[in-house]
Symmetry: C2
Amino acid sequence: MPKLGMEPIRRAALVKATIAEVGQAGSLDVTVAQIARRAGMSSALAHHYFGSKEQMFLAAMRHILTLYGAEVRGALAAAEGPRGRLTGLIRASFSAGNFRREVISAWLNFYVLAQTVPEAKRLLRVYQTRLQANLVHDLRPLVADPGGVARGIGAMIDGVYIREALAPAGPAGSVPDGRAAADVVLAYLRARMAEAIQGSARGDVARGDGVGPRDVTGEQ
Amino acid sequence: MPKLGMEPIRRAALVKATIAEVGQAGSLDVTVAQIARRAGMSSALAHHYFGSKEQMFLAAMRHILTLYGAEVRGALAAAEGPRGRLTGLIRASFSAGNFRREVISAWLNFYVLAQTVPEAKRLLRVYQTRLQANLVHDLRPLVADPGGVARGIGAMIDGVYIREALAPAGPAGSVPDGRAAADVVLAYLRARMAEAIQGSARGDVARGDGVGPRDVTGEQ
DNA sequence: ATTATTGTTGATTGACGAGTCAATAAACTT
DNA sequence: AAGTTTATTGACTCGTCAATCAACAATAAT
């Protein structure tokens, strides 16, 4: 009893099921049949709509990136001033919608996918570039080396995510602590800002590279 | 013409080949036959020595962790004072031996493996715990919140690694820039230390949690 | 010499899974 | 009513691959 206009519904269900299945398995080694079953249809139908497993993964990835982007945009719009926007952006990165076991695990696996599939790599780079641009934009008035601090924040967000993927699952039903995770990153931001203020008082803000005068190991 | 005492040689060759193959493929989807071929033997022999593919992966992971551990221990022994040891540890994490495309990619994949294989998870946790302990030990005399800063450094190291795995490969034969990577992490350390000094001058070092007084978002 | 022990591989098995296809059915079009 | 498009699936093909096995070779032990 086929109703028409099923396509978008089926696609959405498959995308959701893909994320759930990859997240639960903790691996990209999930069969199309598994995904399809979770989404309530036959594997043949999944192939019918997506053509291949790879396309399913990519659609799932796009979906995650889209959700993330929307959440960030919302946070940016709601926030006041550079500092507020930075805080908002970082908090949004660990919001309840994004920072969930399944999704975290899916992220990790998509990183792996990006090693193999060019389109996945492209998507991830779009995300990284946009994040970097957002951060630099608001860091410029606040710190001496916006690019460097932005890179640090970006790396740290990824690092906190990846570590959560490995964290021992708490008591059943417990949820990753996005607040605490964001605080780790915010501590970094705060430290680098304090440094800028302290530095400008001493007149050496313009150094800008990541290595301070006390460091004797000879960088740069 | 079988010589005796081949076992350790074969095992080492297989471990090396596993890392190379996983690194090059950017995925755990490598066949035992590929690995064995690279190591110069038949797939049957690989199974003979390791019993299963999973055991091969685990051996490779142990090997990477061992190398890393040795490098860190060396750096710690050679360094002077807490600050020097911290710098040494961080630099060692990005030394030429560890911070190579293959190995970076293998790390990423081992993170994924740890999602599925309990023994892999255990290994990675040993590494994380030891790193945390090392960091805390030397941070204690330097900052107000050694645990928090150590967590930040750990996350950042992982983040920098994972990002390098995705970085566009430079011109052929080029090698990831471990110096620059370490500098990103060192900048974080320096900032948090500066903050501690600044803080103690103002008498509020003991706060210790990751959120500053200027932050209006209401954490903790 | 004969009997382990260790090293080594080609061939085979057995399972699994992506993708295709033919067939069925309900809706829309003319 | 006949034809077209959309939805849907069971069955099948085809390839791949981990793991096993039987057999062979060389060295060591008795």
